[in-house]
């Protein structure tokens, strides 16, 4: 089949809705559907797929690729559901004993996940030289001691992002001692910062069950439709992974919702460097696309009460949305909370009695919904609310932008009418059609990436070190399936380290590109 005939399916399984889109070979939208998410997921997924495929003749046979984004992993951690029992092996002794594994975890989450932790001698320096040799006997003894309980093993070594050999060795030892047992290696999950990376690795190992359910459900839904093509799962960095990889690294799906929404917004407008703001009924989330990918957070990210450092989009969340109540005197004008999903009954313009930001947007002429006449008695209050909302959005713009340069802003989501046409530091405001399925579109157009986050010495020159980091990131993207001719470096961040004798810097480089055609 010629590649331009091939159809692409994008699906986003959210907490409320399962959205599906069908794109043609040039990534143009052919069909879209919103379907309620069902508790078992598969039923809703199957139904959404059926409905979207029905809109295009002979679609099932022409589908070349299916890309799916899901919030299952996030929900499993939040609700402590379907989590596997994990044994944690840290390679870092005699260092690192001062802070043992899983310190600071919520007690109930720890109780439902961990069945044992150990620190064995091992780990490497930032140069890759061993700290001390890996104590393989200690690893074997620990694995023996948890062989009954452990359903998965998490392995985290000091500076393993620099040299992962010891983590691979422990994976071999697990196979030797325990046979088939899923293993999560920290260098494939997180970046520098041992405790946060270790936390992310343990969560990942606990999510393997969820990953298997999701991938099995997806495969069942597709085979019920007679579709047998390459299927991918969306990650939180705007790229996708194979089902096999998703089974091994489910934590990388956490945060894929906002990422897909941003990537979809970029695709709908053709912008590669832009702010994206998603305004809902209760919350507003803003992020930054750089070269088409969401900028990643450099600060640790909280997942279910646990500090982690795996790559996540760098987002600013505001408690601000169409349903935000315009405050009674005495509180801050926008601090009274939101009417949430009762918006269509309670807002003034919809016949209710609560002044909300959607009323303010209508009164200011930004939105044309409901009955504008019902806002007349509240004009002054609503105008003040619009001004306060604009100030908060302007502040968020500044927090999200990486420089003073003006950039376009893409407004999506049900409350996006709140976003004014003029914001300081913003070049233009886009309001794309189909923005309500931006998530699913983002999944459908996802690429693949490679990343490097390591400490490099500048002894042979800064340029050489950066070139080396870029080469490593590009190679990884190509190994992950990117088209070698189309891989771009999308992010280079340099953080020099203080208090050393020679110039040394932490380099974070990311390369990404579209998938190579089969």
């Amino acid at each position: 089949m010629a590649e331009h005939d091939e159809l692409r399916v994008g699906v986003d399984v959210g907490g409320t809705n399962t959205d599906a889109v069908l794109l043609d070979g040039r990534n143009r939208l052919l069909a879209k559907i919103k379907h309620p998410t069902t508790p078992d997921v598969t039923t809703g997924l199957l139904s959404a797929l059926q409905q979207v495929l029905r809109q295009e003749p002979d679609a099932a046979a022409r589908v070349g690729r299916v890309m799916v984004g899901t919030t299952h992993a996030t929900n499993a951690i939040l609700h402590r559901r379907n989590l596997r029992r994990v044994a944690t092996v840290r390679l870092g002794g005699p260092a690192t004993h001062a802070v043992p594994p899983l310190r600071g975890w919520p007690a109930d989450l720890r109780a439902s996940i961990s069945c044992g932790e150990t620190i064995v001698d091992g780990g490497v320096e930032m140069t890759g030289e061993p700290l001390v040799p890996l104590d393989e006997d200690a690893v074997r003894r620990f694995l023996d001691s948890v062989s009954e309980q452990a359903e998965g093993i998490a392995v985290a070594g000091v500076f393993s992002p620099v040299l992962p050999d010891q983590e691979y060795r422990v994976e071999e030892l697990v196979a030797e001692v325990l046979g088939e047992r899923p293993v999560s290696l920290s260098h494939e999950v997180g970046s520098l910062g041992l405790l946060e990376r270790e936390n992310a690795t343990v969560l990942n190992a606990a999510l393997v069950e969820v990953a298997e359910q999701v991938t099995a459900g997806l495969q069942n839904a597709l085979s019920a439709l007679g579709i047998s093509v390459e299927t991918f799962v969306a990650q939180n960095d705007g790229t996708v992974m194979s089902l096999d990889y998703a089974r091994r690294y489910p934590i990388l799906t956490i945060g894929s919702g906002p990422t897909n929404s941003m990537r979809g917004a970029g695709h709908l407008t053709g912008e590669r460097d832009a702010l994206v703001v998603d305004v809902g009924a209760t919350t507003t989330v803003m992020g930054m696309l750089t070269q088409g990918f969401p900028r990643e957070s450099t600060a640790p990210v909280d997942v279910g009460g646990v500090r982690t450092n795996f790559r996540m989009p760098d987002l600013v969340s505001l408690s601000l949305g169409g349903g935000t109540m315009v405050g009674p005197p005495g509180t801050g004008i926008l601090d009274a909370g939101s009417v949430g999903n009762r918006l269509s009954a309670e807002a003034l313009v919809f016949g209710g009695g609560v002044p909300t930001l959607i009323d303010a947007a209508v009164a200011a002429g930004r939105a044309a919904v409901g009955d504008v006449g019902r806002t007349t008695g509240h004009t002054r209050l609503l105008h003040r609310a619009v001004a306060a909302c604009d100030t908060r959005l302007a502040e968020a713009v500044d927090r999200v932008k990486a420089s003073a340069r003006e950039v376009p802003l893409i407004a999506v989501g049900g409350g996006s009418a709140l976003v004014p046409q003029d914001l300081p530091g913003v070049l233009t405001v886009h309001r794309p059609e189909h923005h309500e399925v931006a998530n699913a579109i983002g999944a459908a157009v996802a690429g693949v990436s490679g990343a490097v986050d390591r400490v490099f010495s500048y002894v042979n020159g800064r340029e050489e070190a950066i070139a080396e980091a870029v080469r490593l990131a590009r190679d990884e993207a190509i190994r992950a399936g990117a088209d070698p001719g189309l891989v771009d470096v999308v992010e280079v961040e340099e953080i020099p380290l203080a208090y050393l004798t020679q110039p040394v810097a932490r380099l974070r480089v990311k390369a990404a590109g579209p998938l190579r055609m089969p």
């Binding site: 001062a98 600071g104 910062g193 999200v400 800064r462 203080a498 208090y499 050393l500 004798t501 020679q502």
Partner: protein
Amino acid sequence: MQIDLGNLAALALGCTVSAGGGGGDPRIGELMAAEAIERCGPVEVRPLSSFGEAEVIMPCGMIGAPTVMMEKIPHGAEGRIIRETYEKQFGLPVAALMPFELGGLNGVLPVAWAAHAGLPLLDGDLMGRAFPELHMLTPHLSGMSGSPAVITDERRQTIVFDARDNVWLEKLVRNCVAALGGSACGGLYTMTAAEAAGPVIEGTVTRALGIGEALRRDGEDRVAAVARVTPLARLGQGKIIDIERRATGRFVQGSTLIEGHGVDAGRLFRLEFQNENLVLLEDGAPLATVPDVITLLNAHTGHGLVTEETRYGQRVEIVVFPAPAAWTSAAGLAAVGPRAFGYDFDFVPVQVSGG
């Protein structure tokens, strides 16, 4: 006075403020201290006057890159190993630990070691802030030797330095730390309580604690609350609009541009740093300089910003704390005044208004 699980976080927060932009994120030290306090109990904080003249005080902390310590976390017994090495050298028991640098990571790390060793912590330090080099400690001003200094690594290797002078000590220790992988723990300027009476800047542990507690109180002007704990000057508020950093070898140098907001709208501040914040300039003229402690407070969280973490768009308040008296003497300014960092102007003492 003691440090326990209830006030440890406030101490760590205060250490982000007292560091003046350097010293690294205290978080790993805070986690170590929490673990040690949980296992061994709270740490008693005592004034210098409570120690007998002959009792031995051991200043200690980490040396090297705090970023490295985020991976290569200490084992926790470093304080005990340094102490035992000294006790073998002097034949006298160490009576108390003391942070040599009350700023950043080093403000909390000795708390972990004191808990682990079951020893009190002296309420004071030898910098009253963060500085990059081992001769930038107050005892150096009065000609006291930092040697013998003890360095230990996570492999429990120890090295004792007996250097010709403190500049050599800095050079030897810094190179040794590089060989050990970029971070190590050490003790230096170990002294008796009688000797400590001159150089120790007293009360800095409780002061950092007070700053942290003031910042954690909700619902009021945080900076005004800090000003009630310790004198300070508010030099401006604004937004970071540019940040430039470069690794020059031993230091990270650079500058931050801050555009004034609110009452400071229309002003433009330039903050230059070398690991720590050095000078605050407006229209080319210094508003504040080392050794006064120049700190950017994150307007949203109240945290003191470490230079590694500053980025475009952050809303900040520029606060300056007067330097400890030792640093504003002629000898102090020669060691750590603006000219010592290559500037062609003299120290500009900050004018403190009442809280």
